[in-house]
C-alpha cells in the first residue's frame, strides 16, 4: 500500500490523471508489473489492471448496486445473474459486504465507497488508486475502510492512496511518497517519520495547528437562531427546532455527519431557503430579509462547495472579488460597478492572502483549490463583516492554505467577528471552536466542550452513540 501526499496544487491529481490514462505525460514512463505501458484513455489503464476510485463518487442514485457496477462493463459478465454472482464473490473475497440489489440512494457514504471499490475490482483492476478516500468519512468509517484496504492488500492487490490526512497515511501505508510543486521531494517509510515531519516535508516549512489561544468570547450576541424548522419536499423535517446563539468573538462549531442538516442550516441563516423560526442579527429580526440584504448587513459566507456556490469559475479573479459583494463598496458606486476600485482591492486580497496567481485577470478556474479558497476567505473577511458563516473552509485545501485560513479566522475572531463553523474535519472543529454543537438528523442534539472533546468522542456523538461528557438535549 503506497501513499502519495502533497499540498493541493502540488501535482497529485495530475499524477493520478496520468496513471489513470486521463492525461498523457510529456516525458517519462509508466511500468505496470515490470512492463512499460502507455495509456491514452482510462480504458487502456483498466486494461492493464489499473483502476481509480474518485474522490467524488460516480454512482447513479436511482440504480441498484448491481446496475451501477455493470454500467459500462456489460461485456464482462452480462447484466444478470452471472454479474450478480461475480459481485457477491468479490464482495465476499475482499470482505466488502456489498449487497448487489440495494438501491444506491439508500446506502450510506461508507457503503457507496465500497461499491466504488467493487466497481474497480469488477473491471479486473490489480492496482487501485484511491483519491482522498477518507475526506467524506467519519472516523469509524475510516477504520472500516482501512480494514477493507488491508484485505485487498492481503489478497495481493496494490493500493495507491492519496490523502491530506497524515495520521491516516502513517497508519496504513507501507511506503510514502511526498510531492511538492510537481516533483518527488521524499520517499519515506512510515516508521521513519511522524505526522509533523511528514507535513513539514509537504509544505517545506513548519506546521500550523488549529488551536485557538485565549478566549475572546463576548456576551454580545450577533447571531440568534430560534426554533428554526425546515421541511423538505417529502414533508420530512430537515431542520427541527434549531436554536443557537453566536456571540461576537466566538466560534461556534457545528459537528455532524454530512447530510444531517448542515447545508440547510447554513442556507436558512443566509436566507437562501425559507424556514420557520426567527433569525436575529445583532438583535435585529432579519427573518424576512433577502439574502442580499443579510449580506449587506455584514454576513460573510464561505460556501461548502466553492465551485458551485463560491466562484464564477470562468470569470477573472477581480470579478470573483465582487461576487456576493456586488452592491457594496469598493465594488459598486450606486447602480454602477466600480471596476477600478474592485481591481485594486482584488490585488490587495491576493497579496495579503498569498493567493498564488500571475495576476488578477486570470480565470478563477485556473487556480488550485487552496488558492481559490484563500481568495474567498479574503473576500469574505473584507468590508468588516459581523458574522462569518463558514462551511468546510479548509476542505480539499493544502496544509499551507489551511494554516492561512485558520489564522485569518482566528484574527477575525479576535477582532470581534462571530463565526459559525461547519466542518467535517474534527480536529479543526475542536481546535478552532469556543463552543461545539452536534447536529443529527436536523436537530442540535448536544453541546461539547472543545477543551475536553476528542475526535473519538465527537465522532460517536455525531453518529448518535452514547456521549461521554456531553450535556444531553441542548438543542431541545
Amino acid at each position: 500500500m503506497h501513499a502519495v501526499v502533497g499540498e493541493n496544487g502540488a501535482g497529485k491529481s495530475t499524477l493520478m490523471k496520468i496513471l489513470y490514462g486521463m492525461q498523457r505525460p510529456d516525458e517519462g514512463t509508466i511500468s505496470v508489473e515490470g512492463r512499460e505501458v502507455s495509456f491514452s484513455s482510462p480504458a487502456d489503464a483498466i486494461g492493464v489492471g489499473v483502476g481509480m476510485v474518485h474522490q467524488h463518487f460516480m454512482l447513479a442514485d436511482n440504480l441498484t448496486v448491481l446496475e451501477n457496477v455493470v454500467l459500462g462493463a456489460e461485456k464482462l459478465h452480462g447484466i444478470g445473474d452471472k454479474a450478480r454472482r461475480r459481485i457477491s464473490e468479490l464482495s465476499a473475497a475482499y470482505g466488502l459486504d456489498v449487497r448487489p440489489d440495494r438501491l444506491v440512494e439508500d446506502l450510506g457514504v461508507g457503503d457507496r465507497q465500497r461499491v466504488e471499490i467493487l466497481k474497480v475490482l469488477y473491471r479486473g483492476a490489480r492496482t487501485i488508486i484511491l483519491d482522498e478516500p477518507t475526506a467524506v468519512l467519519v472516523p469509524q468509517e475510516v477504520d472500516e475502510l482501512f480494514a477493507n484496504l488491508r484485505e485487498l492488500k492481503a489478497e495481493g492487490l496494490t493500493v495507491v492512496f492519496i490523502s491530506h490526512k497524515l495520521d491516516e497515511v502513517l497508519a496504513v501505508a507501507d511506503e510514502i511518497t511526498v510531492i511538492r510543486r510537481g516533483t518527488t521531494v521524499a520517499s519515506v517509510l512510515p516508521g521513519e517519520v511522524d505526522s509533523r515531519r511528514l507535513a513539514e516535508l509537504m509544505v517545506g516549512s513548519e506546521l500550523p495547528s488549529p488551536e485557538t489561544r485565549e478566549s475572546t468570547v463576548t456576551d454580545r450576541p450577533v447571531l440568534q437562531v430560534e426554533g428554526m424548522t425546515l421541511h423538505g419536499a417529502d414533508g420530512r423535517a430537515q431542520l427541527e427546532d434549531v436554536t443557537l446563539t453566536v456571540h461576537a468573538g466566538e466560534i461556534v462549531g457545528i459537528a455532524g455527519v454530512e447530510g444531517n442538516g448542515q447545508s440547510e442550516l447554513v442556507e436558512c441563516i443566509l436566507g437562501m431557503r425559507a424556514a420557520t423560526g426567527t433569525v436575529r442579527l445583532s438583535g435585529e429580526d432579519v427573518s424576512t430579509w433577502s439574502t442580499r440584504r443579510r449580506r449587506e448587513a455584514g454576513v460573510a459566507y464561505v460556501p461548502e462547495d466553492r465551485h458551485r456556490q463560491g466562484l464564477l469559475l470562468e470569470s477573472p479573479l477581480w470579478e470573483n472579488r465582487m461576487l456576493g459583494h456586488q452592491t457594496q463598496r469598493p465594488n459598486a458606486r450606486g447602480p454602477l460597478l466600480d471596476r477600478r476600485a474592485a481591481r485594486a482591492d482584488t490585488a490587495r486580497i491576493v497579496q495579503e492572502n498569498d493567493v498564488r496567481t500571475p495576476g488578477i485577470d486570470v480565470l478563477a478556474s485556473a487556480l488550485s483549490g487552496g488558492n481559490q479558497q484563500k481568495l474567498i476567505i479574503g473576500r469574505e473577511l473584507s468590508g468588516d463583516p459581523v458574522l462569518l458563516v463558514a462551511s468546510h473552509p479548509t476542505r480539499g485545501v493544502d496544509v499551507g492554505a489551511q494554516a492561512h485560513i485558520w489564522e485569518s479566522i482566528r484574527q477575525a475572531r479576535a477582532a470581534g467577528l462571530a463565526v459559525l463553523l461547519i466542518s467535517a474535519d474534527l480536529e479543526e472543529l475542536i481546535g478552532l471552536s469556543d463552543t461545539l454543537r452536534v447536529i443529527l438528523r436536523g436537530r442540535l442534539v448536544c453541546e461539547l466542550d472543545p477543551r475536553t472533546a476528542t475526535p473519538e468522542s465527537l465522532g460517536s456523538a455525531m453518529t448518535g452513540a452514547a456521549l461521554p461528557g456531553a450535556s444531553e438535549g441542548a438543542g431541545r
Partner: protein, 400 residues
Amino acid sequence: MSSGTSAPRTVRRVDWRAVAAGLAAPVLALVIAILVTSLVLVVASDPVGKVWETLLLVDATDAQRSRAVVNMLNSATTYYFAALAVAVGFRMNLFNIGVEGQYRLAAFCAAYIGAAVSLPAPLHVALIVVVAMAVGAMWAGVAALLKATRGVSEVISTIMLNSIATALVAFLLRKAAGDQGSSLNLSTDQLPASGRVPGIELGFLDTPIRVYGLVVLAAVAGLLYWLLLERTRFGFDLRATGMSESAAVASGVNVKKMVVAAMLISGAVAGLVGIPALVGEDPYAYTLTFQSGLGFTGIAIALLGRNSPIGIAIGALLWAYLDVAANRLQIQAGVSNEIVTIMQGTIVLSVVVAYELVRRYRVVSEQRRVAAAEPLAAGGGPVGGGGPSGGTGTAQGVPA
C-alpha cells in the same frame, strides 16, 4: 473620460494571445463554411468559381455594389436588434426563442397605433418606438411570469407564444385593415409623415436607396447593452446568474426577479426589430408581407457574435451581406441562392464548435500559466517557520 493622472493606471497591456484566440474561432468557422459550401457545389456539379465570384460581387457594377451596401446595412440593422434581444437572454442562460412572435406583435401594434394618432414628428416616432418596446416586453413577460411562478421552461412557452402571436396578428390585421385592403394584401393604415424617419443618404454611394434612420438607434442599443451588462450591478447579477445560478443565489441574487427582468428587456429589444423598416421604408405600414423569421436569424447571429455587442454587429453584417449577395446567384451563376442558407448554417454550427474548442484551450492555457507562475509567486520563500502564529498573514514577495 479618464483624466490625465489616472490614465496610467487604466492602461493595460493588450493581451494579443487573447485577441488571437478570440479571432481564431470566427475565422476558423468561416473557413470551414467556405470549404463545406464549395464541397456541396462540387458534388452538385455547380460552377464553384462563378458562385464565389458572384458572392464577392466581383462582376457587379458600381451601382449594384452601392445598392448591396445599403441593403446590407438595412438588413443588418434589423438583425442587430433581433440578435441583441436573444443575447440578453443568452447571457443569463435564458433561451428567448420568442423574439419572432414578440417583434411581429410589437410591429403590428406600433403600426396600428402610429397610424391612429397625430403628433409632432419626434414625439410621434418616440411613441411608435415605446409602444413597440412595451408590446414586445409584455409578450415576453408572459413567458417570464410562467417561468418565475410555475417553473415553465421559457423555451417551450416562447415557442408556443410565437404561434399564438402569428395567429393573433393575422386576426388583428384583418380587423385593422377593415374594408380598404384586398384579402390578398391586408395592411394597417399608413403612418403619417410625422411618424416616419427619413433615411440617411450615403453621398459616396451611387444609389437612390437610403440607409434606415434607425441605424442610429441600433448603435445606441448596442452601447446601452454593453453598459448595462458590463458596467452595472444589474448586469453583473445577470451575468453571474448565467454563469452559475448557484453562485448567484449565494451572492444574494434573486433569480426569479432576474428572470423576469431579463425577459422583459429581451422582449423590449425584440419589439424594436420591425421598427426600422416600418418607419423607414415604403409602405410605412404592417402588411401581410412584413418580413418574418427574423427571430430565428437573431438566435444564429447572437451565437455567431458570442453575445458581445461588437461581435453581434459583425455577425449581423456578415449575415446581411450573404443574404444580399445571394440575391444575384440565380441570375448570375444559375445556382439556387439556398446555397447561402447552407453556408450560413455551416458558419453557425462550426462557430459554436470552434468557440467551445477555443474556450477549453483558454482554460487549459490559463492553468498552465498559473502553474508556471507559481514557483515565481512563492519566490519570497515558503511560509516562514514561525509555528501557528508564524508569518502566514504577512505578504509574500510579489513578483514585479
